[in-house]
């Protein structure tokens, strides 16, 4: 079958590899119909993820059709349309039952190499899905791949960020960084009762999209975010701020925006960036800091209901629809920020 494979920094190829087979009775084999290119994939592309062998199949956002199932599978039948979580967990251990599936001993993330659980990814024609009764969800009738694919990763991340932020109805929030996750936070903020949402970015197209979602766009090249928000909120500032860019300048902006006793949610992946203020300043401002990892198992069922009822539509996020064979060029274009969110159309969903 065809798959997108990593061969080291800046070297992603589309090549013929062996089709996966069932290994455990709890596995399913999924024929992939749609798979997406995620910002996290770029960490492999940039060589920042250790222990990714040459020829490793990448990708962790995908929809497809059940091709084969192990003997223990009870939730699915061959031919069912499904969407996957970006990672695997058992649902039964104390960590999973407490809602913290990332601490499950069976945690494996798709397509991120040996260190993340040694599980080949979903940018391929077929993918093996462990613990499929838990890892997969059926796509409700009438919903497309594109409308549901993000429930396994970035839409769940946006939801996790909002839930963990502790905002209540009417609260004022700001989002620093309006890439795909930042946009989805802006899109979902009304569902969590946000009153006013500010979106801060330097890319005009992103700010236009934010405005379309009902947020107030701020371009820090043109306006001082702290000053503007202070004026518009009569000095009350933001109840919660979402750092969705993953870099130091964005953190510095983010920490300038909450009210006393407010929150900064760190959504963007950070690796070795310094903390942007002293512990003393943090204490005196009484700002709580909430690093976030997406929790698809906790939120995808809620999300599928909101998508089915028409309250969330994330398909507008998709800027490019490409064949799998275009993956190598797509990675390079994404790295140059020439595309925002690409999906690969791999096979027929019908």
């Amino acid at each position: 079958m065809l798959a997108v494979t990593s061969h080291g920094p800046q070297d992603v190829r589309v090549e013929e590899v062996d089709k996966p087979k069932l290994q455990e009775s709890t596995d399913a084999i999924v024929r992939v119909t749609t798979t997406a290119l995620c910002g996290t994939d770029m960490h492999i592309y940039h060589g920042k993820i250790p222990n990714v062998p040459a020829g490793w199949i990448v990708g962790h956002e995908f929809c497809g059709v059940i091709e084969d199932i192990g003997d223990s599978i009870t939730e699915f039948e061959i031919g069912d349309r499904v969407v996957s979580s970006m990672y695997v967990a058992c649902g039964r251990c104390p960590a999973c039952v407490s809602g913290d599936h990332r601490r499950c001993a069976k945690f494996q993330m798709f397509g991120m190499g040996v260190a993340f659980g040694n599980l080949p990814g979903g940018q391929a024609e077929y993918v093996r899905v462990p613990l499929a009764d838990m890892t997969l969800r059926g796509i409700p009738d009438g919903l497309s791949d594109e409308s549901t694919i993000f429930t396994g990763d970035i839409l769940a991340t946006a939801f996790t960020a909002l839930r963990q932020s502790g905002i209540v109805e009417g609260d004022t929030i700001a989002i620093v960084g309006a890439g795909p996750v930042g946009q989805l936070i802006a899109m979902c903020a009304p569902i969590f009762g946000a009153g006013q949402t500010y979106v801060i970015d330097v890319v005009p197209e992103r700010l236009e999209e934010a405005a379309r979602l009902g947020a107030i766009p701020i371009n820090p090249k043109e306006q001082n975010p702290r000053k503007l928000i202070k004026d518009q909120t009569a000095g009350l500032m933001c109840d919660a701020v979402f750092e969705a860019a993953g870099n130091v300048p964005a953190m510095e902006t983010a920490f300038s925006l909450p009210r006393a006793n407010g929150s900064v949610v760190l959504v963007g992946m950070l690796v070795d960036e310094p903390f942007p203020l002293s512990a003393g300043d943090l204490w005196l401002r009484n700002t709580r800091v909430i690093p976030i990892l997406g929790a698809p198992f906790s939120h995808r069922d809620e999300l599928l209901k909101l998508i089915a009822s028409g309250r969330i539509d994330a398909t507008a996020l998709i800027t490019d629809r490409l064949p799998l064979s275009a993956a190598s060029a797509a990675y390079a274009a994404f790295d140059r920020k020439e595309l925002q969110k690409a999906v690969f159309q791999v096979g027929e969903a019908g």
Copy 2:
């Protein structure tokens, strides 16, 4: 001054009475600009509220302008535009600090007679407001009386019902009874993350309004609510149901709709109606029952922010705008259900 007064069942008059004066240093006198007619007022009209003397000034929903203030008032100045809570509480006792302002020893409700605290009402040209720093809120610049008046009563009641229901993002809800409070629950449900909202009523205009708000209307004369919701939710039924009619048939419908381990929120006022099912049935279905009293002190600040940001607009609820002199006829028309929500335009807000 002119005021709307009760003289027993079916006898509401507009007559000249003494203008109120400051009594305590924490009082304010408010010149009323807009006041509303509420379903609760009809309990006096029907003679169901004990201890309402002849000539009693009624009404508990009002906006106005500060005419005079006691020496201890710090939040307001003469000339400020304000909206009132429907009742008074101190904000400082253990009950108030816990968020349960109805148990405050200083509780007084406007316009409901001696038993509710002996505080004359707001359907008048002027009204005395005790503990004004707590009871009143300033109307933000740019907002009208009509957009904010319901924060003191029915909009806060809708919010209280949704908050107490315990729903989470994506949940399915049903509202039985689409009068003003039912409509406001439907309007606010998306702010609490409701996925799908069903509204059940027999009045076609109310169902049209519910549909306009994004809900699915059900006329029980035409469709069986339980059967329809069962079909559309694949048997999952409702996570929470709001009984907003205050009568036995509505309760019976309401209790037929929740899932196992779901909730029925009793929003409509009940006085002596029997409980519609046995304790055994309640236990076996595991339905929690949540009677609700509106909590404006807990929610009006959130609501004012949501109104200012454009996320809530309850003015569409208003069907009739009348002079205070029309109050007697308006009570009679409301009693005949010929009007849905009337406001009396008493004076200039500007």
Copy 3:
């Protein structure tokens, strides 16, 4: 093997039956070492549970040692000491992930007949445990069967009742009915921050035990519970009341005790009892009603930690330790209320 079987009302026998075998790859066979007699078992004894075939193996509280495991079991090995949940659920469907395992499509309760999932019970020398990775928990080193056995049922029920009641630190509670579950609520109340706990029962020994647990005992034959609590709380009454007897007089007492805007938690099983007050009274008092089903999957991991740290010790509840062969007599004695909580010592745990 020996097992306790039901043969109709008042007819429980200990007889030789076939030893169970693995049926699914997710099953385990447990050699039972300790199993308990629960009030719920009496519903079968009284013929109130439909569809219990003659010869049905009863019992749903048990500890034991893993005798055999299916191929998919990953959490246990033969020889491990385990304690079981009273029922089975998958951990992976939307209901389970939301924490509401009772609505799982794979729900089966041990020992309650065909209608409860057709799963033979644990009052036997061996028992087949479906979905064993979820249904069972390992008993931590150093803990006995008796200290952990109630995590699968009544201790989890007490925890569920307290969690769902919504009490906060310092709250005053009352427990009506001081049988095993009532005692465990009194025992666990401090863990949920209860300030003062009242326990109401007519049996002197139960009241003595409640006093030993730090509660204030009330014998309604000697004192009026409402009057006493009103006096001692300066009229504030109870924040939450737990009805743990499952009958109408206990419900009547329970509903007389909460403050306005308080809760009554219905813990005792109810079948066809009438509701003890009108909907109008419920609304005017603003009492929320919370029927409870025990949620061992949500609480047993917390409970095992509290038991291991010495903060909970439920072994004092056990009044009788008997061989399995004494089961028939034990059921009769329990029915005559001559014993409070019996465990059957079936085999060696070591």
Copy 4:
């Protein structure tokens, strides 16, 4: 009257000053009976608080008897025994109603100089208490000054820390720094359901007291806290860690102890200390950081109930009982860490 006054670094005097008078109708004058010396007072003693005039009356923990009341006071009469919050807030503004009294525009802290609201302190024979209906609480009959005095500050701080930490029943916690606040966190942890509590300090007496409270003491001079807790929790580590020392080494220890997706609560006051790890490390460990300011208004009513029911007794914390005239020596001794928690016995409570 006599009062403890600050005259610059290391210069605290007991001198004769004017007795305070009522200024507002909402004031009370309290004759102080007991007042305590708090670690926060040492910030003035060390000259770290700006804008503290010479002769400033210090102290913010006190109990006493109502000596005089303004015309608007409704909750108290002359002669009532009362305990004060360490600061003043109105209870009526949006910040107060939301439970965040520190953001009240009327915030004033007793005895901390001009920058903290210009309100003279309570280490004196008399003190003026603004907004007395809110700032004070009556001491329940039968309770002593010493048993209630800490509800206005450090006991509320311990409660705030535990509440904000988000721990659930059974969780494992660690407290770094076993001064008065650390001890109170250990004392209150069971009320929040903590399973196992570790207390880390180098002072043997503090560790003995922690052990007496049921915690596991760790002396980092003798044992590596991280290694020990890792061993004892089978690698699960702590769900929440409380930094109660307010210095960098304690922060470093604290951040080494939480599990992935756990919390570090910063309880100790920090001024200009650096943050002890990078933003990248924080994100990768997914540790949430929660700086805490004590919230007496939110917790003192709960605390008074728990004290009255015997569940909390903080009097054991008091190591020294002194006359007010000994204040100068007491500050010096406290600075040398020769006393842990001193109260000044100023007058008769009876």
